[in-house]
Assembly symmetry: C2
Amino acid sequence: MELFEERGYNGTTVEEIAARAGLTERTFFRYFSDKREVLFSGSRQLEEAVTAAIAGAPAGAAPIDAVVDAFEAAAERLEALRDYAWVRARWGLLVEHAELRERELIKLAALAAAVAGALRERGVPEPTASLVAEAGLAIFKVGFERWVAGAEPRSFAAQVRAAHGALAAIVGAGPSAA
Amino acid sequence: MELFEERGYNGTTVEEIAARAGLTERTFFRYFSDKREVLFSGSRQLEEAVTAAIAGAPAGAAPIDAVVDAFEAAAERLEALRDYAWVRARWGLLVEHAELRERELIKLAALAAAVAGALRERGVPEPTASLVAEAGLAIFKVGFERWVAGAEPRSFAAQVRAAHGALAAIVGAGPSAA
């Protein structure tokens, strides 16, 4: 991230990233499939944490609560783990580079599929599992973007909670009779 | 699509596609940026139709109704326009080829951004506009997948309506007090 900030994302080579991290290029490619992947190193842990939390939710929990609670916990962990400046700098790179946004979309789609799978394992049928997963991702994404934008409240987990409440208010009425 | 079915997606060249369509390769690339794009030729019209419908929704319409009605109308048009076998064959290619799924994700993200933009033009504030857009996309996607999977009811528009009702039932209660 330091290097990306110093030289720009396009101007930084894998060789330079590896050197800064004290790795050979060969070792770098044992950990990361390409340069982009450096910015997505947390996505696997996120997926594992979220699916484990869904699996461990109380038996009577509504699917949407199991999912949003899992994302809230993940948001809290991310806040504890990552420097806010780092998160914002990473987000700035994504906004700037289409190829990074594409990688992000792929990771989020994989996360949605994993969430739907974790729900099916709990006995949630389709299409409910997929709908809950997509709704959960929408809540997580919008909560994240509000947090990165510096909106109040300042905590990522609180933004996730707020987005859940907002989504419920928005779609709660269901299709109008008209 | 015929060619993709005959020779497989990977085995088909742009030259062959252009020849089958009676175009030179040069003309092909005036219409499509690459081979993948052939399968996404409808995405721009979809975006235009959906954003126009949102702009033209009654002044008092709830944002989620404006969006879901727009997607329902788009679903109806797509059903009228495209052969169901063609839609299923295209979907089969997407399931099989990660690079096509990636392109689909990018198109859907662009559609979500356009929907959020159309809502902001109607005076819907953020983060409501983004949440409604993401919820609308979730409804459209799940409705589409049910339709392509041959689930009852057999109409795409009816599947979109059903997904809206299901999502409302799922998130309607809002965050639990716990």
